[in-house]
Structures are given as structure tokens and as C-alpha cells.
Amino acid sequence: MTVSRRTLLGAVTGAAVGTLVVVRPAHAADDLQAAIKAFTTGAPLQRGRVKLDIAPLVENGNTVPITVHVTSPMTPADHVLAITVLNEKNPQRDVITCRLGPRAGRADVSTRIRLANSQQLVAIAQMSDGSFWSDTADVIVTLAACVETP
């Protein structure tokens, strides 16, 4: 069988990119799971209702705008109690935890955060009925923050 130079190069690059994407330190993911457990106190986490808005490609990790929007009627009977944002690879898992109530009117929060690495972010909302909802976002960071001088 003859293999052309083009197909060989393509296959090798493809394999390299594949491994790069798959390799993720196991302990970081475990930490993130532990942080999620600490917030939900073991309650099941459901996908949906939460929308985490962040640019997929971030040039400067020192200040990254994020917005978390939670779909909720925000009435005294049914509202969002807390919103937290967790990360996977910063030195510390917590980013911010907001506490709101029916007087917020709308569960919309934005801020600017630091990202030390390309990683996954998780936003979790705690509802007044005790349920937890989440959304995740993968971000690629080209200039890291937290550890290096800005």
C-alpha cells in the first residue's frame, strides 16, 4: 500500500490534535466535581434553565466578561436563591457566588473574571424548590491570568 505524503501528514496531525483535546488532568476534574458537590450538597444537578454566556475564545484571561441568566418567574413561591460559577483549572475552583431572591425581578448577573487556562466553566443555579440547574462552557484562553503578572 502506498501512502501519500499528504494523507500521512493529515493523519499524524489529526492524531496529535486528538490527544491534545482528550488529555485533561484527572485531578482537576475531580476537584471540580467536589466543588459542585459542595455547592449542591449532593442534590442531583439538572441541565437547562441556566445560560452561561462567555466568549469561546478569550485573548486575555485577566478580564473575561461572563453573564449568567436563569429562567425563572422570580416570584416569592418560585425564585432563584443562588447562582455560582465554578472553574476547572484556576488555582481555586470558586469564581463567584451570588445570592438573590424574589426582589431581584430577573435572575441576570454579569461580572468579569480571570482564567488561568483553557478550561471548562460551570454555572449552577439553586432554586427555591431545592432543585439545582447548570450550564457549562468551554473556553480557550491565549493569555493566562492569576499566576502571571498582568
Binding site: 481555586q92 469564581v95 454579569s110 468579569r112 491570568a145 492569576c146 503578572t149
Partner: protein, 107 residues
């Protein structure tokens, strides 16, 4: 006193949702960064933010080192009665600052 900016409407209709944007000048030193001498710089962050509307807390946040320098936060509240909104930031090294903004609510 750190410089703080609070952007919100001065007047609102009763029941209207007002968006509040806050920004405060603060380095938010993470405690994970080395200085010029190679030693880790001690942590100096804002840890807590809260907003009270006529004495009742409507929003609060716990901040961690992953919040960018000069923390910016936006959130919403329902205009209920004319009154004062009190914004408080607390942090390391005894940092505490309170700003007040009046909101007039028309029926």
C-alpha cells in the same frame, strides 16, 4: 476610599425591573502571583458585596480571587418604593466601603 461607580436609573415606575451596574477600583491581588522578588504577593481581595434596598438585602455576592481586578457586577431589582440603595464592599485588610444611591419610584 476606593473609587466606585454605580450606574442605575434615578427614577423608575413601581414594579419595574431596574438594572444596576457597579464597579469599584481594587487590585484583587490573588495571592497566587509572585512579585519582583520572587516571593508570593499576599492575597488582597474583596470577599463580599451586598446591596440593600431600604434596609432589606436584595442581592449579595461572595467574591473569590478569580474575579478580575476592579470588580464589575451587574444585577437587577424590582423598584418598590422610593428609597436609598446601599452598596457595601468588604474585603481583606479591613476593606469596607459603602455607597448610597437614591431611587425615586413613581406610581
Amino acid at each position: 476610599m476606593a473609587r466606585a461607580l454605580i450606574t442605575m436609573p434615578a427614577t423608575a415606575k413601581r414594579g419595574e425591573i431596574v438594572e444596576i451596574r457597579t464597579l469599584i477600583a481594587h487590585p484583587m491581588e490573588t495571592g497566587y502571583r509572585a512579585g519582583d522578588d520572587g516571593q508570593l504577593l499576599p492575597r488582597n481581595i474583596l470577599r463580599r458585596f451586598s446591596c440593600r434596598y431600604d434596609g432589606e438585602q436584595v442581592f449579595s455576592a461572595e467574591l473569590f480571587p478569580a474575579v478580575a481586578a476592579n470588580p464589575y457586577l451587574t444585577f437587577c431589582t424590582i423598584a418598590t418604593v422610593s428609597g436609598t440603595l446601599e452598596f457595601t464592599w468588604e474585603g481583606d485588610r479591613g476593606f469596607a466601603q459603602t455607597e448610597r444611591v437614591a431611587l425615586t419610584v413613581a406610581a
